[in-house]
Amino acid sequence: MSVELQHPMKAQSTPDEIARGRFVSGMRSLILNDLAADMGTAYQNRAAPAFRKVHGRDPETSREAHEALRGDPAFNIYSAMRVQAQKMVWASVADSVEREAERLAEEARKAEGPGSLTLDPALEVPKNVHAIDVHLMPGSYTRGGDGLEAGAVYDRGLAVFSMGLMGANLDDIGLSMSRYVQQRFPDFAPSRILDTGCTIGHNTLPWKQAYPEAQVIAIDAAPGPLTYASARAKMQGQDVHFQQMCADDLAFEDQSFDVVWSSMFLHELSKKSRAKCLDEAYRVLRPGGLMIHMELPPNEQMGAFEGFYLDWDSYYNNEPYYKGYRDEIPRELCTCAGFAEENFFEFVVPSIGIYGEQAVSDAAKGDRAEGVGQQTTGRLAEGVMWYGFGAFKK
C-alpha cells in the first residue's frame, strides 16, 4: 500500500510522518477501490434510472453521467473524501521537504553521476504550469523557483498518491511502455530519444534502461522539477540530459530524434498547446521515428459512467484541460500533426509491476486495442493498465 522511494533524495521522515503517509495511501485505496465501486452501484441503481425517468433514455456522455450523479450520496461521499485525500497527499510530505531542504541540496550538489542540466532563465513558464495548483499541489510545479522543493514534494507526494502502484522508483509507466515498444517493435533501435513534459524524469529513466546506447534528452517548462530530476537521475547512474524548454516550441532541429515520448502530459495542456506539441513532435522526428504518448483513454471508447469517472479530475482536482483532452480523438490528433492514418496505433499495456514482464510481452504480441474500455484502464487502482497511442513517421 505504501512505498518508500529508493534513491538518496528519499525522505528521512519521522515515524509520525511515515504514519501520516501510510494513512493517506490507505484512504486513497479505500476511495479509489471501494467507494468508487459504491458510486458505480449507485449510478446503476439510482442516478441512471432517475436520469432515464426525466430524459427517456440513459446518460450517453460523461457530462450527462456527471449531471445524473450530482447530489447522489455515494457521489458526494466519494468526491468530498477524494478531494480531502488529495490535499492530505501533499500535506503529508511538506514538512519533511521543508526540514530536509539543506540535506537535499547537499545530496544534489555531490551527485556525481553522468548526465547534465540546462536551465533557461529567459523562458516564460506557461500559465498551465504556474498559475494553478495542478492536482491541488500547493505552489504547483514552480513552488520554490528553480530549487529542489517542487520536485521533492512531487516525488514524495507521488509515492503516497500512487499507493505502490507505480513502483518504488515511480517508473512503472515508463518501464511498462518502453518494454512494450521493445517487444512490439524488436527491430526498432532509436539512437536519440526525447521525453517531453518529464517533470522529475521518473518515466524518462526507463527509456535509457531500455535503449542504453541512445542519447536521452528530457524537457520540461518548470525549472525546479528539472533540477531535481537531474540530481535524481545522476544518483541512479542514468545518463540523461535535462533541459528547460516548452514542448510546443522545441529548440531542436528538424528530423533530429527517433522517439518523442510523454507520460501523463498532454492532458495538462490547452487544446491549442497540445496541437502545437504534436506538430513539433512530427517536425523533430526522423523518418521512421516514433511518437508515443501514455495518457488517459479517450471518452469515445468508454461508457458514460466510466468516462465521467476519469473526467472527475477536471472538475474537482484542478485539472482544467483533462476533459477537453479526453474528448479529443487520439487518431485525429496524430493525423492533424502530419502522421499518416495507417501509421497510427493505440494500445493498452498491463502494469509491469503488477502483472509482470510476460503480460507486457503478451500484450505486445496480442490484440493491442483490447481493454481500452475496461474499468482498470487508466484508473490508478487495483489492477491498473496503461493506455498509450502513437504513430510512426514514414
Binding site: M1, S2, P15, D16, I18, A19, R20, R22, F23, V24, S25, G26, M27, S29, L30, D34, L35, D38, T41, A42, R63, R70, G71, P73, A74, F75, N76, I77, S79, A80, M81, V83, Q84, A85, K87, M88, K127, N128, H130, A131, I132, D133, G139, S140, S314, Y315, Y316, N318, P320, Y322, K323, G324
Partner: protein, 82 residues
C-alpha cells in the same frame, strides 16, 4: 497564486465562493468530512506509536500496511454502500 481555471462546461454551482468544490447541500458538511479524515489520521498516528511499542516488546515486526487497512475499513465502515 492559484487561479480558478475550470472546464468550459463546469457550472459555477459546483464551487463555493472561494472556488473550492462543493458537494453537500450544507457546505458545513464538506468541511466536516475533512475534519473527520484529519482526525482519523491523527488517531492512526497514535496507533502506529502503540504498534511500535508492541513491536519493541515482542521483537516482531507487524504488517503496518495491513493494520492501517483494517483500521480504515473499521472507521469508515458506516459510509460504505451509500
Amino acid at each position: 497564486m492559484s487561479e480558478q481555471l475550470r472546464p468550459e462546461d463546469a457550472p459555477p454551482s459546483l464551487y463555493d465562493e472561494h472556488g473550492n468544490p462543493r458537494f453537500f447541500a450544507d457546505p458545513a458538511m464538506d468541511r466536516f468530512v475533512a475534519v473527520v479524515m484529519n482526525l482519523a489520521q491523527e488517531v492512526w498516528v497514535q496507533e502506529e506509536r502503540l504498534l511500535a511499542l508492541e513491536e519493541a516488546k515482542s521483537g516482531e515486526a507487524l504488517d503496518r500496511d495491513a493494520k492501517a487497512k483494517e483500521f480504515i475499513n473499521r472507521v469508515f465502515a458506516p459510509i460504505r454502500g451509500a
